[in-house]
């Protein structure tokens, strides 16, 4: 009775009309009072998540790890970090989530392990170790020289000398994260075993971290290689064969034409993040010009029917600026990272609310655009209440501070002593937990949380947002971002004013002549569409979503 599919109607495309919610277990809720969030605490908060209306939880890595990279440095693929609980706690959590019809996917880092992983310890111990070939070794540090260094702030090279092994080892990320050697069939088989282990526990899929880097090949930039795609197809075939209705979500921070390769012919990952659109949304907002968004959407190739983009405003990493031009990056830094502490690698380590100067209209507008685009939105924990960040904490910790549940001690996150908390909760006068917390916002009908809850509900009532086609509908006023979504009998027109001033725009809606726009929040009917351009006026940062309905059926 506790099979994974037991609480769901079978639906291989569920992820296409789902709202995702990304959770850092350590930061969500402390169930045992030790100062760190854990799986039992997270299970306690499922009622809240069910109310919020999300369909799928994405967990940041929850495996044993020395935590030098937020858990992306995995030291055991088959267990739960002791701070978070046990495998049994995990199973109970997944089961409790499923009973609320919430699915669970988890981060999985296939590319590398922690240097603490027993595999690496064994590998470095001797050239004859059976695990030696599970990693990538060299006597020289000049191989694969066309591969870029990703963590430019900390890593001088992709090769690091290991005095124990007496060789250099290859790593695309931190030097404490040696890359696994996918040329070795044992590694490929082992990683499939890892997937099966968690799928058998009932998990609904994986976010595959850092997938472009699985294989290396001399003379290439060692990203997106054909061997990597071949392996992903094998993973997908295995999942399809034995685990229906599961999803693989690729983290491939690449240009759209390269990312779509990860969908294959619908036989690799079902989802991939749409990285390039994200900085352009922030750019468009600041410039009051929809052009950057239209352009990147135009440049985005079509994807297979059984696939979907993952869309997000912010996540647990820095707001990445890898997929923009140098000029655009300078612009983004100048506009969104005035304090140099806010920069990290090629990105900006800030949460959504502070990025938007805590402007409620801006936060709503950005969510409206996010929810209107083709793909599945991914919310980041805390952003639904407009949590802030702490730029004085190192690395990306500033955006991974404890969730604010109440205005009480430790923001209701933990009953431990303040000094015992894994990171201090925010206490500043604007974003601190005494003013920004779930309890207060639940009680305030006009709060961001309550608004977002209604918005999630609205989106879920209309599968067109997840499943429908996208057609740009560019008005002559470049400050207005407008497009049409269609699926089955539903036609939806989404129009957004990016400007901080009131605007008017004329839309060419002649193809819909005779239909009536009905605003979706309040079901207010607007004048019918005729042959002439349709005039709409907007308040500052205002937006409308309209269903285009037949005159007689308008509710």
């Amino acid at each position: 009775m506790s099979e994974a599919g037991h609480w769901f109607e079978s639906d291989p495309l569920w992820f296409k009309h789902a709202v995702f919610y990304e959770i850092h277990v350590r930061g969500f809720f402390d169930g045992n009072g030790d100062g760190m969030g854990d799986l039992r605490g997270l299970t306690d908060k499922l009622d809240y998540l069910e109310w919020l209306g999300i369909d799928c939880i994405w967990l940041l890595p929850m495996y044993p790890s020395p935590l030098r990279d937020g858990g992306y440095d995995i030291a055991d693929f088959y267990d739960i970090h002791p701070d978070y609980g046990t495998v049994d706690d995990f199973r109970s959590f997944v089961d409790a989530a499923h009973q609320r019809q919430i699915r669970v996917i988890a981060d999985l880092v296939m590319n590398h392990t922690s240097s603490d992983h027993p595999w690496f310890q064994e590998a470095r111990s001797s050239p004859d170790s059976p695990k030696r070939d599970w990693y990538v070794w060299s006597d020289r540090d000049d191989g694969y020289e066309d591969a870029r260094v990703i963590f430019v702030d900390t890593e001088p090279s992709n090769w690091t000398w290991d005095p124990v092994a007496g060789q250099y080892y290859w790593h695309r990320f931190f030097s404490h994260q040696p890359d696994l050697n996918y040329e070795n069939p044992e590694v490929r088989d082992e990683m499939l075993k890892v997937l099966r282990f968690w799928l058998d526990l009932g998990i609904d899929g994986f976010r595959l971290d850092a997938v472009p880097y699985l294989y290396e090949q001399e003379g290439t930039n060692c990203e997106n290689l054909p061997q990597t795609h071949a392996y992903l197809r094998r993973v997908r075939a295995e999942v399809d064969e034995n685990y229906p209705d599961r999803v693989l979500l690729a983290e491939a921070n690449q240009w759209p034409e390269d990312v779509v390769e990860y969908f294959g012919d619908g036989d690799e990952c079902q989802m991939a993040f749409q990285f390039p659109i994200m900085p352009r949304m922030f750019m468009s907002l600041r410039r009051e010009d929809a052009t950057p968004m239209y352009e990147i959407l135009e440049r985005t190739p079509p994807i297979p029917e059984n696939c979907a983009w993952g869309l997000f405003l912010r996540n647990h990493d820095e707001l990445t600026l890898e997929m923009v031009t140098d000029e655009e990056r300078d612009y983004m830094y100048a506009e969104y990272a005035r304090d140099p502490r806010m920069k990290l690698n090629l990105g900006i380590r800030r949460r959504l609310a502070p990025l938007l100067d805590n402007g409620r209209d801006e936060i709503e507008l950005m969510h409206a655009i996010l929810f209107s685009l083709p793909g599945s939105p991914v919310l980041y924990y805390g952003d639904e209440i407009g949590m802030g960040d702490n730029v004085f904490l190192g690395d990306r910790d500033g955006v991974r501070t404890p969730m604010h549940w109440t205005g009480d001690r430790n923001g209701g996150f933990s009953s431990a002593d303040f000094a015992q908390l894994y990171l201090p909760p925010l206490l500043d006068p604007v974003y601190g937990y005494p003013s920004v917390n779930v309890e207060a916002q639940l009680r305030t009908p006009t709060s961001l949380l309550r608004w977002l809850h209604r918005f999630v509900e609205l989106r879920k009532e209309h599968p067109v947002f997840g499943l429908g086609s996208y057609e740009a509908c560019r008005p002559s006023n470049p400050r207005v971002f407008a497009h049409v979504r269609r699926w089955e009998e539903e036609v939806v027109l989404c129009v957004h004013n990016l400007a901080r001033s009131a605007q008017a725009a004329e839309l060419d809606l002649a193809q819909f002549a005779g239909l009536v726009p009905e605003e979706m929040f309040g079901q207010t009917r607007f004048p019918p569409i005729g042959e002439l351009p349709y005039l709409l006026t907007f308040g500052p940062r205002g937006f409308y979503w309209f269903r285009l309905v037949q005159e007689e059926s308008a509710a």
Partner: protein, 459 residues
């Protein structure tokens, strides 16, 4: 084996649509329907002997692209006469056809496990099924399900809306039956599907309880007759309810039933949900004279809600009835109460109906039902209830309830009153929403209830 599946899935849309959309159990009458088709079928009998017996999974798809699934067991016979035909076969609703009902009963008797390509239909019984369940009669008067009485001994109840997961009624009846709770129609068996396209409870088999009156009829008759006969029975009803909750809260080792402490936001979530419901209901109130007294009072209702949902404990959360009112309790020939229909409010999704919540929701449901009976008597039949009738019923019920309910599951003192009012308001809003959609003539009743909650002193 696949013959029947192929036939069912090939049933023409027209006949199926006409049939399904006009049934009492079809629950989305106000939504615009895009299509109706059988998306799957589970054969129930091997071979191609007539009549073929199967469960059709019928998908009703709405214009927005969402859909509902319905459970339509049917028989196929050669020739004409059914509600739809394909390839010379006609489809008949299995619950309206004695021969086909008997087929169902046989499967239960055999405790059959019928496999098909995508899964299995399992028939289970609690004990041995009695012989000679020959006579079949329809139960009638149901909304979301279909029941037939077998030989005046058993009731076969078929769930029409299919939702993934175990039906809460099966869980609750099984739990209460296993613990020997006497005030129910005990569980005798069930049928469930496991596999594609969903795991779901299809039907249950219950003991049939000969009835003198259901609580609602009893209350209205009593009101018409002067109002002295009913109130004395209400104390007993409170006791039965209290004992039911105590039993439901008695199993700390079963995760589906063990009582839980509410999370820190539990009360705030209830209030937030209700607050949005109030906003929605008031924003879309039609122009009816009966609604006049509520016009412009949304903010007042929301303020009152905040008082009811303010500080103080919520009590522990348990599995409970979920749709408790006078229509769900029967006064039997043994002069005692029996509780029916453990499915929860049919308009809510299954996952919500399975939630553990405060048992005070059931208490509030019954209190609202007294108010409903009094209002219905006055408004619909022109018989004013005797002074203090509702108040007496209320205090008798509460006294009986508090005497028998496990004290660890309910808050005490003023918090109890505030929480009761909160759940009464929740119920009244549900009633208003329901009546607006189904019985506009009755809208006055929940309106009176909401006004009463608005105008009384804050507790």
């Amino acid at each position: 084996m696949t013959l029947v599946r192929d036939l069912v899935c090939a049933l023409p849309e027209e006949g199926l649509r006409e049939y399904v959309l006009t049934q009492r159990w079809y629950g989305s009458k106000s939504e615009e329907v895009a299509s109706v088709r059988a998306v799957d079928a589970f054969p129930l009998r091997p071979g191609d002997e007539e009549p073929l017996l199967a469960v059709a999974v019928v998908e009703v798809r709405f214009a927005a692209g969402t859909h509902d699934l319905y459970n339509v067991p049917l028989g196929l016979r050669r020739g004409d006469g059914g509600f739809a035909s394909v390839d010379g076969w006609s489809a008949f609703d299995a619950l309206e056809d004695d021969e086909l009902v008997q087929g169902f009963v046989e499967l239960l008797r055999e405790q059959a496990t019928v496999e098909h390509e995508g899964g299995t239909v399992q028939f289970c019984t609690v004990g041995e099924l009695a012989d000679g369940l020959g006579s079949v009669r329809a139960m009638g008067s149901e909304q979301s399900n279909t029941s037939v009485v077998l030989d005046e001994r058993l009731v076969l109840k078929l769930y029409r809306r299919l939702e993934a997961g175990v039906n809460p009624e099966l869980e609750l009846l099984r739990f209460l039956t296993e613990r020997g709770f006497p005030s129910i129609a005990s569980l005798e068996g069930w049928a469930a599907h496991l596999g594609q396209p969903l795991d779901a409870t299809l039907a249950i088999l219950q003991h049939y309880v000969p009835v003198r009156r259901d609580g609602w009829t009893l209350a209205l008759e009593d009101l018409a007759a002067g109002g002295n006969g009913f109130v004395p029975l209400v104390r007993r009803l409170g006791e039965v309810t209290g004992r039911m909750h105590s039993v439901l809260a008695s199993e700390p080792s079963d995760p589906a039933f063990c009582p839980e402490e509410p999370s820190a936001e539990a009360l705030a979530l209830i209030v937030a949900r209700l607050d949005e419901e109030i906003e929605q209901v008031f924003a879309s109130l039609p122009d009816l004279p009966e609604l006049e007294p509520l016009a412009g009072r949304a903010d007042q209702v929301r303020d009152r809600l905040r008082e009811m949902g303010s500080s103080g404990p919520l009590g522990r959360l348990i599995r409970h009835h979920g749709d408790y009112h006078l229509g769900q309790v029967l006064w039997t020939e043994d002069d005692d109460w029996v509780v029916l229909d453990f499915e929860g409010e049919p308009a809510r999704p299954l996952r919500e109906r399975r939630h553990k919540r405060s048992p005070l929701r059931d208490v509030a449901g019954m209190l609202r039902s007294f108010s409903y009976a009094a209002s219905a008597s006055a408004l619909e039949r022109g018989i004013e209830p005797p002074t203090g009738w509702e108040g007496r019923a209320r205090s008798e019920f509460l006294a009986g309830y508090l005497a028998e309910a496990d004290p660890t599951i309910i808050p005490d003192g003023s918090a109890l009153e505030r929480r009761l009012r909160l759940f009464e308001l929740e119920k009244a809003l549900y009633e208003l929403h329901y009546e607006l959609g189904h019985r506009p003539d009755w809208v006055r009743v929940p309106v009176a209830g909401i006004l009463q909650l608005l105008d009384e002193e804050a507790v």
